[in-house]
């Protein structure tokens, strides 16, 4: 009863940057039998078909997922939560439901309530771009990137293996994490950088006080530090709403660090400043 991934019909719900790239990765490699796309707008489906990202498309969720061996929910987090409430009865027995949402606790809790004939696995690929949408999608988006899998206690081994096959098929690297730990880690490494970037852009706007020369002086440092502030608002508000406690902890820690730097600069404590700067520099150089 366990079909290999090569024989699987995969339905991807949501054909934005993440879903579109996933579809492109699967079809371009011929990794599975069939890729079906579900999108709200017919124009999205037409584009995905024109790009050969999907074999077939539909705006009807039920029709799209009915025959699926693997359903991948690739919409913003709150939309994933809404779909998890209705999708269960639409699925055939043994169908695996995976998501690519940016937070995992709320989603895995909702997955736990799926009917027992369905197999849920939480997922989160650690990649993206600041530009969203199908037109930014590319088959190599997941290549060599970490893809977090968060199986539930109820997830059967065969279902996890199917999800693992998907991760392999798109060239990503699997890391298993429980939802709580995932949410705490990404609050720091992903959501905090976003909040700092938003704060930076808005602080500079306020400090510019109408002096347009400010923006002409922006060089590579500002460009990179602020990049994620251009991220998709819907995706980011969903993340904020479903990972509040961990993000508040991360913000609190960032404020402590920022206050320490400020106090040292106020006191002219160059030794203390250099120490903090060196610690950050060494860690950063170690990583990249």
């Amino acid at each position: 009863m366990e079909p290999g991934f090569a024989d699987a019909q995969v339905t991807i719900v949501g054909l934005g940057l993440m879903g579109g790239s996933l579809a492109a990765a699967l079809t371009s490699r011929g990794a599975c039998r069939r890729v079906i796309g579900v999108a709200r707008r017919p124009s999205t489906l037409r584009t995905a078909l024109d790009l050969r990202f999907i074999h077939e498309g539909t705006t009807d969720l039920q029709a799209g997922v009915r025959q699926a061996d693997l359903v991948i929910l690739a919409t913003p987090v709150r939309d994933i939560l809404a779909k998890l409430e209705i999708i269960g009865p639409m699925l055939k027995p043994g169908a695996v439901v995976l998501d690519v949402g940016s937070t995992k606790k709320a989603i895995c809790e909702a997955m736990a309530a799926l009917p027992s004939h369905v197999q849920p696995v939480g997922g989160h690929p650690m990649c993206g771009k600041e530009s969203s949408g199908l037109t930014m999608a590319e088959p190599e988006l997941y290549q060599d990137k970490v893809f977090v899998l968060a199986p539930l206690p109820r997830t059967e081994p065969a279902a996890l293996r199917l999800a693992q096959s998907l991760v392999q098929a798109i060239g990503a690297r699997e890391v298993q994490l429980d939802p709580e730990r995932h949410d705490r880690l990404v609050a720091a490494i992903s959501h905090l950088p976003y909040m700092l970037a938003v704060s930076l852009v808005n602080a500079v706007e306020s400090l510019a006080d109408g002096d347009d020369l400010m923006w002409q002086l922006a060089a590579g440092g500002f460009r990179d530090t602020s990049r994620v502030a251009a991220g998709d608002i819907r995706m980011m508000t969903d993340i904020l709403m479903t990972n509040r406690p961990a993000i508040l902890d991360a913000l609190h820690e960032a404020k402590i660090q920022l206050s320490q730097l400020t106090e040292r600069l106020e006191r002219n404590d160059m030794e203390g400043l250099a120490k903090a700067m060196l610690a950050a520099r060494n860690r950063r150089l170690e990583m990249f």
Copy 2:
């Protein structure tokens, strides 16, 4: 008495990323008669000669600048300040002294004290990399980048024109600014991003609390937001020491923005959050 830039002997003091790239830009384009490099270490001079970045090199400041029509100080800010104290008597009448230091108020004040036979112009090219040193230098570093010129009240038009010729010769775009306004603007657009990047890396380190998976989850967002934290410590401490008031103002404003985001998240004020996020997103998209 006004030699064209093509006839000028240019001496570059300091052959790191900025000075080395400047030398490379001038020699590769044959923009001036002669490029002389001054560096502390003979090995740096040998490398610069091997790369054909300079025509001649010396570790002796006096010997290097004696015949120069244009001297460019390309060391960290506090070293520029030290050199400005001693360089005046070494220069021939009418010699122009330009710097490429990251802050301008302290430097232009020191320039004002140069002997009257010397012509000072403050300068700051808005470009760089997080990796410093001659081996990272490249002739195209300044291409299409803003190069701030800060002439002093005492600067004669011919001296300013020579500095402008240099800016043109290396393909940069000139923007004239007085030192105070320059320092205020770069505190926001350049020094604040650095302080936020350092705070981010150190906050994530603290939040990781030894969980090495944190760093494996880092994706493009963290990489870009933290990039400038890998910057040169010496250069950055010099900037902090010579631009304290403006940087403290910028830090204060960033903390206000960060606190606002935090309070809105605490209160679950998603409308307020979305408004701040959208303002940052629109500004960022407008710029790049």
